[in-house]
Amino acid sequence: MEDLIPGDPGPPGRRPHDLSANPSAAEDNLQWGHLVERIRSGDQSSVEELYGIFGRGIRYYLCRHLGAQELDDKVHDTFVVVLQAIRNGSLREPDRLMGFVRTVVRRQVASFIEEAVQVRKDQAGMEIGGSIPDAALSPERRVINDERSRIMYEILKGISKRDREILTRFYLYEQSVEQICAEMRLSETQFRLLKSRAKARFGELGRKRVSRGPRIGNFLRKATGAGH
């Protein structure tokens, strides 16, 4: 990714490296400051870089709080707000860009929720129903989730009752690790080991099932031959 517009020699002094390739360097205030400066100067590549750094995190945050519906539009709207805020000087401390983006995202979430509430209130009195967002998963996502649940069911049926109880307390009843360890008389290390084994088994079975999917067109298809 080019940092600068072609032909632009760039600012003197230190050249920033690609923040999206090395997120651990994001704490370097000079890098955030330079990115903000480039955005304000109209450098298009800096906008792409901003999206590359924050795009996935914003998408995750919005999905977690608002669901998957119309997610692309919401991510886009949030980015527009962030860019406008940067360009009009609302970001007073460029080195706090991460915190600033987080604040904008939280406000966007609140705004989307408020808008959804208002739309439902407006539609409540309508005799002919207005649009009702479909919160159901897509058919593909349902199949994937069903398969994952089946794999997990097999795993849970295959482990001891005690191990199943430990994991159930953690994932279903959301008890803390400390409480589980105290009541079930195990160390945190033992708990972590059990958890990681279950996750590894889940991943292994999932990969096995995916690799065993029907390969249409890749292999010679056989038909039933003569019966005896």
Binding site: F54, L156, K199, R209, S211, R212, F219, L220, A223, T224
Partner: protein, 230 residues
């Protein structure tokens, strides 16, 4: 979806012990984040970090998927346990028969039923016979020939003869799956004269199934057959 928690007032001590938003999440922080147990400056830093760290985000998403699948499966197991506990242990067949015979007129009706059943059996026994397993040979076919082969009969126990010509001469893994890729049966087989025999020992419902042969070490799919059951 999760609710948006209100921002906590930043206490003075949080500024002294505040974690860096550049540091990747520990296992405990990840779990606390997903269970909405974080607050204050720690939550801010974790959320800021997740905005920019794809590695931690991937861990969070993986944990979320695992947790969601776990909850569905665990609830199903709990429902099954509750049902079993509620229904109680099922009495054996003889105990149920004994309880029924003890009812008023139960013995008389029971004897009459046994007599009638015996007469019926004697009358139709010669025509009854256990269906032997149906043998189906799955071969390599192409084009129109592939569509013209006979199908297996629904409900009849099946024995599959799988075309193993050209496959490695070692024990291979066998799999029977539905059209939706739900695995029904797994086994192992060794080719004898270019054929791997697989006694399913059961009948199948009408539909189309996949029969697959895998090479064990890497689970490499070697051959796949379509099995039509009508």
């Amino acid at each position: 979806m999760s609710e948006l928690s209100p921002e906590d007032e930043r206490r003075p001590e949080d500024l002294l012990t505040r974690r860096s938003n550049a540091a990747c999440l520990s296992e405990t922080e990840l779990e606390d984040f997903l269970h909405n147990r974080l607050s204050g400056a720690t939550r801010e830093c974790v959320e800021e970090h997740l905005l920019v760290c794809p590695a931690c985000l991937e861990r969070v998403e993986e944990e979320e998927q695992f947790a969601a699948s776990f909850r569905t499966a665990a609830r199903r197991i709990e429902d099954e346990s509750l049902k079993a506990a509620f229904d109680g242990p099922r009495p054996g067949a003889w105990a149920r028969l004994g309880a029924w015979l003890k009812r008023p007129f139960g013995l008389g009706v029971g004897l009459a039923f046994v007599g009638a059943a015996a007469l019926l059996t004697l009358a139709v026994a010669p025509s009854l016979h256990t269906q032997p397993a149906m043998e189906i040979t799955l071969r390599a076919e192409r084009g129109l020939a592939a569509a013209a082969g006979p199908s297996a009969e629904a409900g009849r126990p099946l024995r599959l003869n799988l075309d193993a010509a050209g496959l490695p001469g070692q024990t291979l893994e066998l799999e029977l799956a539905t059209m939706n890729n739900s695995v029904l049966l797994e086994s192992q087989g060794l080719a004898t004269g270019n054929i791997i025999g697989w006694e399913l020992g059961r009948g199948l419902d009408a539909g189309t199934y996949w029969v697959r042969i895998y090479h064990p070490p890497e689970n490499t799919l070697l051959r796949e057959f379509a099995l039509n059951v009508k």
